[in-house]
Amino acid sequence: MRLTSATSAAAVLAAALHAHAQHPPVPPPAPPEQRPAAPANAPVRVGGGERPLFDPAAVERGREILVARCGFCHGTNGRGGAGGSDLTRSPIVQEDEGGRQLGAFLKVGRPEKSMPKFDLPDQEVADLATFLHATIHAVSNRRDYQILDIVVGDPKAGAAFFQGAGGCAGCHSAERDLKGVGAKYEPVALQQRMLLPRGGPRPGAPRRGFSPYTDPNAVKATVALAEGPVTGALVRLTDFDVTLYDPAAEQMRSFLRKDGQPAVTLSDPLQAHVDLLRRWTDKDMHDVTAYLVSLK
């Protein structure tokens, strides 16, 4: 039963991964904002980590069984080795439910392919299956992939780009607004904010947490009216209407449009960031990231 529920939870997470592969315009409900990154070998958790999806002790026992009994041929991580196949890609393993099919297979082996039979106690088969299913789940659940150490750039080169070609110093300073910024954000979040500090980065999905009502970096719109222009944060602009939020008056304003009237002018406070998106080299991006991380 445990593994059955694990499988359906795996489907939940796998589902999240596919939302965007096929259909960009519809952001699904977001996962927890800052899901703690799990070490590669940690038990996989769902729902923000309240409940382990796989019993960590069983996963660990299964790993030990794999290393001791299977690792010689199938590798110590199960991905295949000296003559043995990748167990995590094996249809028998992937189709297995709670060790039942795996156990039946192990009792017989595959002698014609030099796979001996193994007479393991049921509990060991179940633990081995748990480890393999946890490994497969970690593969299929790309939202929880752990980003590795991204701070590999040259901070001095980053500072030079910041002061020079990047044009960052036109608005920012390490002594003023960016003072201590390297201590304020994790490197990935810092890199994301460096690229475009609007909303929060969200794995595999459009940015979340953005609101034109509260984000100071929202695109601004000015609507040309006969009685004078109205300016505010842009909520929505189409050919048929424009909606904006006027922070001074603390109110929403909307206007119907036809044939381009009333005229709307947009102004993006982050235009320099948007323009830079087309100019960044990956090296410059890594260097400036390293520079900002160094501003502790």
Binding site: H23, I147, L148, A218, T238
Partner: protein, 554 residues
């Protein structure tokens, strides 16, 4: 004229069972531009989504009004219930994960009845009144409920696929199930979304799912029994042509390539045309050096044998999830003053491709947007050249566009009247972080963080040159651009139906892109709009979220 002759010869070749006078669907309809029916996913086999109807035109479209709304009923009560799953759906993977129920299917319209789907659901709705005739509810074992493109029809029978990979046939009159067959394993992360395409006595299906490096295939099944007629793997088996584009047999057999969208068909060539999915592992390419045929390709198969006639790979060695599943549209056109049988695709990788559909020979490739930063130009066959520097890397690689691509699954349209290929596009950026540095990575192998959606637009491309004739910006909000890829329909009334990215269903002037009419549905349309004539009245039907809307002149 030529089309009608074709239809006749096709009808003569049909098995007798399909020609009974009381059948709901006359198969000859599928070879003609749709008028008083919409009998197959794209309206006809060409994929053009062009209607010869012109009761609604540029002059009177301002009078287009709501005829009815049908809000999707998902209750088991009163439904015809089938399926292998438990009474209560297993947790997770359900439609709630994908913004709730979204009608992504294009309804079929046969004899005044609309047939359409969402994952686990099929509905028959009276096209005159919008009232539900029956509802079929599939009890699922699980799987990814991201969307379902709709049903296929043969005589009196309907066919659809479920997220847990069952091929199900229903009686069209009642919704009663005839049979179901499991086509792939949900435990291996396969899931099915395609609308079956019926060609004579073939029902053509593709599978989806790229989480676990499993093989992809397209198959044909018998409309009477549901049994497999042929099966074509999207990557070569040992010793087959194309195997040289993989390091070894093993990597090819785990190389993905899911053909997850319905394709097109030409009765004259007897070829079925479709796009294949991305290779696996998805974003980490280090274990699959080579072009990775036949992933990310436009492929033509003989519809009777499943043998490949030709292929054209739009993205050799893809490392960004840019499958080539988008609809390949058949165009009978002219190049250099000579009539040609063409096939065109607006590809997720940001390029428009034009080929000769008799042999797959390349004619032209043009970028649809200016911000692509991921390839090293085009080779002499018009294919983008892989740039290893733009693969996912541990410290991050800035790629434009995101994994969603410049366009995606929503069906584009081609109008023979304007000679324009219409497609919704978006320009965007993501950082790709390599997370699996193993020489044998698995699954996706890298994480993506989205940075920006910069511009979105509706574009009209001249198929003869690949150049954008006009481009209309879509909606914007305070965080950037909204919308982009969208289902489209062009008509002989000079109209192009689509959305504006801002929650409006819009009729554009097909020649200029000027918006002529809109309905504020508050949510963007989620399927391909379609149209038909019923009792002398032209209807336009579109899905937006959980509701189907019908419009006509009042």
């Amino acid at each position: 004229m030529r089309k009608q002759t074709l239809a006749l010869s096709l009808a003569l070749a049909l098995p007798a069972a399909a020609l009974l006078a009381n059948d709901l669907l006359d198969p000859a309809l599928l070879t003609r531009p749709p008028v008083d029916s919409w009998p197959t996913h794209h309206g006809d086999y060409s994929g053009r989504r062009f209607s010869p109807l012109k009761q609604i035109d540029a002059a009177n479209v301002k009078n287009l009004s709501l005829a009815w709304v049908y809000r999707a009923n998902t209750s088991q009560a009163g439904a015809v219930v089938g399926g292998e799953g438990p009474d209560t759906p297993p947790g997770g993977g359900g439609m709630a994960m994908f913004g709730g129920l979204q009608i992504k299917s294009t309804p079929l319209l046969v004899n005044g009845v609309l047939y359409f789907t969402a994952p686990d659901h099929v509905w028959a709705v009276d096209a005159r009144t919008g009232r539900e005739l029956w509802h079929y509810y599939w009890r699922t074992k699980g799987g990814i409920h991201i969307g379902n493109r709709g049903v296929g029809m043969y005589g009196n029978w309907l066919y659809f696929l479920t997220p847990d990979n069952y091929f199900v046939s229903l009686e069209a009159a009642t919704g009663k199930e005839r049979w179901h067959h499991e086509i792939a394993s949900v435990r291996r992360e396969y899931f099915s979304t395609a609308a079956p395409i019926v060609v004579r006595n073939h029902v053509i299906l593709g599978v989806g799912g790229d989480s676990l490096d499993v093989p992809g295939w397209l198959e044909s099944r018998d409309p009477v029994t549901g049994e497999v007629q042929w099966k074509w793997y999207t990557t070569p088996r040992k010793g087959e042509p194309g195997a040289e584009s993989w390091p070894d047999e093993y990597s090819a057999a785990h190389g993905g390539g899911m053909p997850w969208l319905p394709g097109t068909y030409d009765p004259e060539t007897n070829l079925y045309y479709f796009g294949t999915g991305n290779p696996n592992p998805v974003l980490a390419g280090q274990s699959r050096a080579g072009d990775n045929l036949y992933t990310c390709s436009i492929v033509a198969l003989d519809v009777d044998t499943g043998k490949k006639a030709w292929h054209y790979q739009a993205t050799p060695h893809d490392t960004h999830d840019w499958d080539a599943a988008q609809v390949p549209i058949l165009i009978d056109g002219e190049i250099g003053g000579k009539p040609r049988k063409l096939i065109a695709q607006a590809n997720r990788n940001g390029h428009f491709f034009l080929l000769d559909r008799t042999n797959g020979r390349h004619i032209l490739t043009e970028p649809m947007v200016e911000t692509l930063n991921w390839h090293q130009g085009l080779n002499r066959n018009g294919q983008p050249v892989w740039n290893p520097a733009k693969d996912a890397s541990v410290p991050g690689t800035l790629v434009m566009p995101t994994t969603d691509g410049v366009t995606n699954w929503p069906p584009p349209s081609f109008s023979p009247d304007t000679g324009l290929f219409y497609v919704g596009t978006v320009e965007s950026a993501s950082v790709f972080y390599l997370t699996d540095t193993d020489p044998r990575p698995q699954g996706w192998g890298a994480a993506e963080r989205r940075v920006a959606s910069l511009n979105s637009s509706l574009k009209a491309i001249d198929y003869r040159t690949g150049k954008v004739r006009w481009s209309r910006p879509l909606a914007r909000h305070g965080g950037g651009a909204a919308g982009g890829p969208m289902g489209l329909l062009s008509t002989a009334g000079g109209l192009l139906f689509g959305n504006d990215g801002g929650g409006n269903f819009v009729a554009y002037d097909a020649a200029t892109g000027q918006p002529l009419w809109r309905a504020g549905l508050a949510t963007n349309t989620t399927n391909g709009p379609q149209t038909f004539l019923l009792d002398g009245r032209q209807y336009v039907v579109v899905g937006a979220g959980d509701s189907l809307y019908a419009f006509s002149l009042q």
